[in-house]
Symmetry: C2
Subunit: 385 residues, 2 copies
C-alpha cells in the first residue's frame, strides 16, 4: 500500500435540517472539503450511507452525489455497513488511493433521518440488526443495547449513575463545537432523572439522530507537501473486523471482539499501542458502548471501562480524551455519516483547530465506528506528520 | 496495483426462490465459490446488493453474510450502485487485493426480490432513478428506458422488430445454462406479439427479475499457480464511470458516456481494443441497452448497434458474442447480483466450461454492468493467462 494523506475536510451542522434535501446536505460537506483542499474536483467519490433507500427513496448515492458535485465520468459508489457506513466509505477511498488506482478520492458520510416520524426511524434503524432472528422477535435497536447494558451492570456491579460521566463529558465538549446538535451542559442530576427509553437506557444515555454530512479528501502522501497553516495528516492505521450480526450469537456479548480485532490490526499497521494515542473518538451511540469500546481497545480491563469516566480520565486533560467534539451523544448521530464526523474531528485535533477542547500537542488520534450492536467495527488511526 | 487472479467461482440458479431466505441464497454462492477454490474461508467479503433494506428489512449485508460463512473477525462490507452493485463489489474486492491489504477476497452479488408484490418491486427499483426529479414525476424505471428506446427508434429509423435478435439470441443461449431463469426458445413472431409493458418496451424486450447470487474469489496472481483442469484467469482491466443520475440531465440520452468512459479505461488498463475481445457480457436489462452498450464500447457506430443483431454478429459464432449464458434477458436479472453473474460467466467462458455455448478459444472477455439508466457503469476485462 502506498502511504495516504489528508488533503481536505468538511462537515455540516447536525440538526433537523428540514429545509435542506439529502442532496444539499451531502453537497455542503463535499464542497466544504473541496474548498479546504483548495481543489474543485476529485477522481472518485465513496459515499457512506445507511438509510436513504428507506427514508428518502433514493439509492445509488455514489452517482447521486458525484452528479451533484459535477464529477461526471468519475468513479462513484456507495458503501453500507449500518452505523459504520461512514468509516467503511473512508476505508474504500483509502484502498483505491493505496492501490494506486485513484489519486484524489473523496470519502463522504451522509444521512438525512428526520424527515420521517420517530417510529419509522426506529424501524429503519432496526435493519442493522438481524431481521430473521432479532427484529422478528420485536426487539428494537435501543432494546438490544439495553439488554447488553443491563447484563454489564449485573456482571460487573455498576449502577446506572456510574455511566453519567460519559454523557456529561460529551455534552461539555460539544459546547465548543459549532457543528454539534446538542450544545448544552448536563448535570449528574439531569442524567439520573432523564426519561427512560429502554431500561436501563434513558434519554441521556442515548445519542440523538440527526441530518448531517462530513467528508475527507485523500491523496497519495508523496504528492502532498505541507501547506502553510495546514499540517500534514497521514492515515497511519486502518482495519475493519466483524462479529456475528446477532448479539445472542456471541460467545460473550459484553466483549466487542470486532473492536478488539480491528484496533489490534490498526495499532499494528501504525506501529503503536493504545498508550501512545492522544485522543480517541469512540462510538458512544449509547453510554454502554463507551465502556465496551475503551475495554476492547486496551484502555481498561474487562468490566472497568466505566472507571475511566468516574476518574476523569476521558476529559480533554485526561489520560485518553474521548468525544472531544461532543461524540455521538452530543455532536449527534446521523448514522451513516457518523464515522466520517469522527475522522474529521480527529484530523481537526491533529491540525490544532479545536479551540477550547483542543488536546494539547495531539499527534496521534484514533476513530472507531460501530455498525449494529458491535457487528461491524472499523478503526482508523491518523497521525501528524 | 499488484496483479489479481481468480481462485474460484460460484452461482445459484435464478428463480423465484420462495423456499430459501436471503441468507441461504447468498450462502449458496459463497460456499460454491469456496468449494471451487478449494478453500474454506477468506480474508474479506465484499457484498453487492441493492434492495435488501427495502425487500427484506435487512441492512449490513457484509457482516450478515460473513457471519453466515463463519468468517468472524474478518473484514466485510456492502457496496451499492443500483443494478451495478455486483460489479461494484467485485471492484471493491479487487482494490483491497490490489492494494496488498487482503490476500483472499470474496466478491458476492446477491438479491432476493420476489418475496414482494410486483408494484412493490417496481417502487423499489425506482430508487435507482432520481427521487426528486424523475420518480417524483411518476415515471417508473422501465418507463425511463422506454422513453430512451422510443427516441432511439425515432432518431435512427429502426422499428421495434429490429431489436428482436437481442432477445432471441439471449433465450437461445440460456437453453444451455442450468442457472438461467428462462430456458425457452423464442421466435420473432412471439417477440412481436408479446404484451406491452411501457411502449415500445414489451415483455420480451425486458429482463425478468429473480432471486439469485453469484460469487468470485480473488487472490494476488503471484500466489496462484495454474491448477489441473482450472486454467488461470486474471483481471486484466477494471474501471468505473458515472454520468448524471437523471436521464434528462444528459447532453445526449442516446449515448452511454459512462459506458464509453469505463470501457475506454478498462481497454487501456488491459492494453487491448474492442476488436480483441472474444465475448462481451453486456447489461441487456432492456433490448435498447444492448444496442447502446455495443455502440459505446466500440462495436458499432452511433445508432447502428441494432445492426449487429440483425447481421448475426452477436451469436456464439459471430464477431462479438454477447449474453452467451442468456444475459439479463433470459438468465435473469436479480439486480444487485447481475454484475457478479456476468463476471462468473466470462470466467466460465475463459475456462472453457460453457458446453453448447462455448466461444471457441476464448482468451479475452468483457463484462459490463449498468446501474440506473446509464448512471453508474463498471467494465471488467478478464483474460486467460
Amino acid at each position: 500500500m502506498r502511504p495516504v494523506a489528508v488533503l481536505g475536510i468538511g462537515q455540516t451542522k447536525i440538526d433537523e435540517q428540514w429545509d435542506k434535501s439529502l442532496r444539499e446536505i451531502g453537497g455542503e460537506a463535499i464542497f466544504a472539503a473541496l474548498a479546504d483542499a483548495g481543489i474543485d474536483k476529485a477522481d472518485a467519490l465513496f459515499v457512506g450511507n445507511m438509510l436513504s433507500p428507506l427514508i428518502s427513496g433514493q439509492n445509488q448515492l455514489g452517482t447521486f452525489f458525484s452528479d451533484w458535485a459535477g464529477m461526471w465520468h468519475k468513479e462513484a459508489v456507495k458503501v453500507e455497513a449500518a452505523c459504520a457506513s461512514g468509516a467503511a466509505a473512508f476505508r474504500a477511498a483509502l484502498m483505491a488511493v493505496a492501490a494506486g488506482e485513484v489519486d484524489v478520492a473523496i470519502a463522504l458520510g451522509v444521512e438525512k433521518m428526520t424527515d420521517k416520524a420517530g417510529h419509522d426511524i426506529t424501524a429503519a434503524l432496526a435493519t442493522a440488526a438481524d431481521a430473521d432472528y432479532e427484529v422478528e422477535q420485536g426487539v428494537s435497536f435501543v432494546g438490544l443495547n439495553a439488554l447488553v447494558m443491563r447484563r454489564y451492570m449485573y456482571e460487573f456491579g455498576w449502577k446506572h449513575a456510574d455511566f453519567a460521566p460519559f454523557s456529561i463529558n460529551a455534552h461539555a465538549n460539544a459546547l465548543h463545537n459549532p457543528f454539534a446538535r446538542l450544545r448544552d451542559r448536563i448535570t449528574l442530576e439531569q442524567f439520573e432523572k432523564s426519561s427512560m427509553v429502554a431500561t436501563p437506557i434513558n434519554l441521556l444515555d442515548a445519542s440523538p439522530v440527526g441530518d448531517g454530512a462530513a467528508a475527507v479528501i485523500l491523496v497519495p502522501a508523496e504528492k502532498l507537501s505541507a501547506r502553510p497553516g495546514k499540517p500534514r495528516v497521514l492515515v497511519a492505521g486502518s482495519a475493519s473486523a466483524t462479529d456475528s450480526i446477532a448479539v445472542h450469537s456471541r460467545r460473550d456479548p459484553l466483549f466487542l471482539s470486532a473492536a478488539y480485532q480491528s484496533a489490534r490490526r490498526a495499532y499494528q499497521m501504525a506501529g503503536i499501542g493504545p498508550q501512545e494515542l492522544d485522543l480517541f473518538e469512540l462510538h458512544d451511540a449509547f453510554s454502554i458502548m463507551s465502556a465496551l469500546s475503551l475495554e476492547a481497545c486496551g484502555f481498561a480491563e474487562r468490566g472497568q471501562g466505566v472507571r475511566l469516566g468516574l476518574e476523569n480520565e476521558i476529559q480533554i486533560s485526561g489520560r485518553i480524551p474521548i468525544c472531544t467534539r461532543g461524540g455521538l451523544k452530543a455532536r449527534g448521530h446521523p448514522v451513516g455519516a457518523t464515522g466520517m464526523y469522527q475522522i474529521v474531528e480527529v484530523i481537526q485535533q491533529l491540525r490544532g483547530e479545536c479551540g477550547a477542547t483542543q488536546v494539547t500537542g495531539a499527534r496521534l488520534g484514533m476513530a472507531q465506528n460501530i455498525g449494529g450492536s458491535g457487528a461491524t467495527i472499523l478503526t482508523h488511526i491518523l497521525k501528524l506528520d
